[in-house]
């Protein structure tokens, strides 16, 4: 299998109508926006896209729609994460047949299976497809079983297509130890960062970055990513601090802050689905004012930029 390095991966939100349905017209605009603003791959139906609040059918439709609209301009990565192993594996198989370039999956929701069953869960999802398979580790988002070096190594033994780990733990102990041990077993194994903290991740070997803030400030995200890929980490400190500051503002009101920030930048994608409460008017005004006060956003695109 040739090595697939995703690069800078934007993770779009999922727009909803007032009636709480996926707003496909807006999603098409959003895809075009990401493609025009520096993405090298799109990951769809991720946690940033409220995957956990989408039905199985909606997730399948979203993948098919994205692949149809992207028309091969960048690879499309599909998230296939669920509580039940067979459900997640079937979703992965569907995404592959729809033309996805790779699958990402995280540990099961709610359950805390023993390590052997956790390996089995991920091995069955990855084993359902031939395309590259990445595991996402986001202990801050998923209350569930911990990933360990041992589990990663066992999965490498089980799956030829297990290509890398998308880390959102940001934990230096885990990242360094994991990538060192994984590369000793599979030299082409990749560390990817699931959040925009590329300086530390890149310094210890990360090749790619997943970004939700790219919907808000794609220029800044791209700048950070490019400098890090050139391994100029001292130079990257300033954009890293700027993104960190932006991130604190966006997550201030909680998960709904991401869609609030999209709206404040002129790209209204509707509200979040239950049980994530939408931002009220006052919370939105506060967020918009805080974003307005950030000098780093002045050069960032407003609106959809459709010419």
């Amino acid at each position: 299998m040739s090595i697939f390095t995703p690069g800078l991966v934007h993770t779009p939100v999922t727009p909803f109508t007032r009636e709480n349905k996926i707003e496909f017209d807006t999603f098409e605009k959003l895809i075009e926006f990401h493609l025009r603003n520096g993405t090298e791959a799109l990951a769809v139906s991720t946690h940033d896209g409220e995957s956990v609040s989408l039905t199985d059918e909606e997730q399948r439709t979203l993948i098919e729609f994205t692949i149809r609209k992207v028309k091969g301009r960048v690879p499309v990565i599909a998230n296939a994460s669920d509580s039940g192993t067979a459900i997640a594996a079937a979703r992965a198989r569907h995404a592959e047949s729809a033309g996805a370039a790779a699958i990402v999956a995280t540990v099961p929701y709610y359950w805390t299976p023993p390590p052997a069953m956790l390996v089995e869960h991920l091995a069955q999802i990855g084993g359902a497809v031939k395309i590259p398979f990445f595991v996402t580790y986001a202990p801050g988002e998923v209350v569930g079983p911990k990933l360990t070096n041992d589990i990663v190594l066992k999965l490498i033994d089980r799956l030829e297509n297990f290509a890398g780990l998308v880390d959102a733990s940001q934990d230096w102990q885990f990242m360094i130890s994991m990538i060192l041990n994984a590369k000793r077993k599979r030299p082409e194994f990749q560390l990817l960062t699931g959040v925009e903290y590329m300086v530390s991740a890149g310094a210890v070997g990360a090749t790619s970055m997943f970004s939700s803030l790219a919907g808000v400030a794609p220029g800044l995200v791209r700048r950070l990513y490019d400098i890090c890929r050139r391994e100029k980490y001292f130079e990257a400190r300033k954009p890293q601090e700027e993104i960190s500051e932006l991130r604190q503002v966006v997550k201030g009101p909680g998960f709904a802050g991401l869609k609030g920030a999209m709206r404040a930048m002129g790209r209204d994608c509707g509200e979040t689905r239950r049980p994530v409460m939408p931002l009220g008017a006052a919370a939105f005004e506060k967020l918009a004012a805080e974003l307005n006060a950030l000098a780093i956003l002045r050069d960032e695109p407003r609106g959809w930029q459709i010419t």
Binding site: W172, Q173, I176, Q240, S244
Partner: protein, 303 residues
């Protein structure tokens, strides 16, 4: 009160005799070894020095020895954290009296204090002594973490708040504290709790409190130099070597570290319960790893 910390700093283990009493002559040799092999500062007794298993009298006596043996060659800071904060204050005042250069204190044990309680505590400590203060952030063990805002508030009030030992090792947390602290005080020292230098130096990190320095001081210095020089590929390779050592030592720290020191010709005795002492089998396993890493050939043996 300006003390600027940077580089590879060593927090010394506490050598013990077979009966678990403190081995002062070996402690003196070890302090001297660290200074001679490139430590830019000495700090004692971190958890690595079994601080919580020492009596108040032992902590005071050894602190005096540390200041005397180092004799101004590099700065000496004293870790004053105790279960009871009254003891912490007593150790802090003692450190000042004996001529230590700084104190270091972790967020309080057991209680999982609120941010307000941590602010109140560090303010009390920092205003009660006339020494530079280094805060020690250990969220995985303490259940309470420093954030940017707490750091900013303490920096505003405490001119002697000069640095932080970060043992969180989480990118976002590090960036958030560093960007606030360094903007307010450019010489503020963000010190990685062990040798996580590749991920921290580009973000403004000042250096490390070394874990492996008693085993392989040369390797630690090479990593720091590569990071400061921006030699990313070299830094990464050295960081990978050092994670193998940290993976050896981190469980039941510092038991295995003390076990490894035997192999380097610098025996420092057992570890006090409830921590185990490295068995012969464990030492053999460590020896294999040290050999595989080439450390037995490239690092100083003996004192």
């Amino acid at each position: 009160m300006s003390l600027i910390l940077k580089g590879v700093m060593q927090s010394t283990v506490t050598p013990l005799k077979d009966d678990f009493s403190i081995d002062l002559p070996t402690f003196e040799k070890l302090l001297d070894f660290h200074v001679r092999t490139g430590a830019t500062a000495i700090s004692w007794p971190h958890h690595k020095g079994e601080s919580l298993n020492l009596t108040m009298a032992e902590r005071k006596a050894c602190a005096e020895v540390a200041v005397k043996v180092v004799a101004g060659r590099v700065p000496v800071s004293i870790h004053v954290s105790s279960l009871a904060l009254e003891d912490t204050m007593e150790l802090a005042r003692h450190a000042q009296k004996i001529g230590a250069d700084a104190i270091i204190a972790v967020t309080p044990y057991f209680w999982r204090p609120t941010i307000e309680a941590m602010y109140d505590y560090f303010l009390w400590l920092g205003t009660s002594i006339d020494l530079p203060l280094i805060a020690y952030n250990s969220p995985h063990h303490q259940g309470a973490a420093f954030m940017g805002d707490l750091t900013r508030r303490l920096s505003e009030k405490l001119p002697n708040f000069i640095g932080m030992k970060d043992a969180g090792f989480i990118s976002e947390k590090f960036v958030e504290v560093a960007r606030v602290a360094l903007a307010m005080r450019p010489t503020f020292a963000m010190i990685a709790g062990v040798e996580f230098l590749a991920p921290s130096v580009p973000l403004g990190g000042a250096g490390s409190y070394s874990s492996a320095g008693a085993i392989c001081p040369n390797l630690c210095l090479q990593l720091y130099d590569a990071c400061v020089a921006g030699e990313s590929a070299k830094a990464r390779e050295l960081q990978y070597k050092l994670i193998r050592l940290w993976d050896l030592f981190r469980d039941q720290y510092p038991s295995s570290l003390k076990g490894g020191m035997v192999l380097m010709g610098r025996p420092v005795g057992p570890t006090r319960p409830p921590l185990p002492t490295a068995t012969k089998e464990r030492q053999e396993f460590i020896a294999g790893e040290l050999k595989d890493l080439g450390i037995l050939d490239t690092e100083p043996h003996g004192w």
